[in-house]
Subunit: 202 residues, 2 copies
């Protein structure tokens, strides 16, 4: 006897439990440990729920939330590619596409196809919804770094210019008003760090 | 100068980061550790995205998802009340109401009021959306226990009758078709356990 629709949905829900074991580079705000991709997905979905007024254009908040709930599940197969790792984005995209096909393929066909299409829309970052979702996915770790005194920037010796080039375009494209705030935060962070260093050196 | 709307929203988003440190009784499916309330909230929101066809009545899936994203944030102040702890539900409700007022009160007033109302709707469990959300919030840990060979039931010496009485009414009310599957799982689990015990004893 074949699997019922519910069997397949439960199979998918069991499989994605593994996202809780994918550890990201970003710490919790209390610095106690690194966050994982499941709790990151929860957090950034709440960002979407609250911050839609800052989107670049008219967005369907609920579609953005759905995208963000699912955007990282491919990491179950391929892991997290940290923004500061310099890994090949072409190889990454290929691996993630295969992972998406496998994971969404666990679902009943129509549902799996619909959610795969939503994931692909996020990846392509062309629609207003996807641009805003991508912006939030970049804004959340930036905020963590700012409010943990450097976070992954300090760990990876990332410069102000690198922060601007690695986060700026994506956040600016999807949420220009949030990027304006980020510019202030980031500048203050690096200026503060530089003055701290010069104080230490003097 | 007062806080801007964005200042308040960011204050809220920073505050709820703490949900990642609230540890629940339920383990991950791989048994490696207990899950926390942030990753639980993510997981159960995806349950809602996939399983709305099993709701007792017509539901607005996106409202259910929003409820589930926010339903546990009160635990930041009051912790998780485990289903098998036998704690006073009146005291719990009072503490959680105070926590909700504090947390949603961090947001701009209108947004805070809207989301507080959504949280209260979930707690009252009277609308179709809230009944379904409550059912999923009970279904997810049941599924974990079934697929980890007992989980919190084994730890707390919970009987088949207790599982039926503690999970049954809520799941049945919001998602009767899911409860039908749960009944089979739970019965099989306890029958298997009983035959294991009798085999050990013989």
């Amino acid at each position: 006897m074949g699997l019922t629709a519910l069997d397949k949905q439960i199979g998918f829900l069991r499989e994605i439990d593994r996202l809780k074991t994918v550890v990201r580079q970003s710490p919790l705000l209390d610095g106690s440990r690194k966050e994982n991709s499941a709790e990151h997905s929860w957090h950034v979905a709440v960002y979407a729920l609250l911050l839609d007024e800052y989107a670049c254009g008219p967005v369907n908040t609920n579609r953005v939330i759905q995208m963000l709930l699912l955007h990282d599940i491919v990491e179950i197969d391929v892991g997290d590619f940290p923004i500061h790792s310099g890994s090949s984005s072409e190889l990454q995209a290929e691996q993630e596409s295969r992972a998406a096909a496998r994971l969404f393929g666990l679902l009943p066909q129509q549902q799996g196809n619909e959610l795969l299409a939503l994931w692909q829309e996020f990846e392509r970052a062309e629609t207003e919804d996807a641009k805003f979702a991508k912006a939030l996915d970049r804004f959340q770790p930036l905020l963590i770094n700012v409010f943990t005194g450097g976070g992954t920037w300090t760990e990876n010796s990332v410069s102000l210019e690198q922060v601007f080039s690695r986060y700026g375009p994506v956040i600016k494209k999807g949420a220009p008003l949030l990027w304006a705030v980020c510019e202030q935060w980031v500048t203050q962070h690096f200026v503060g760090q530089a003055s701290g260093i010069s104080r230490q050196a003097s």
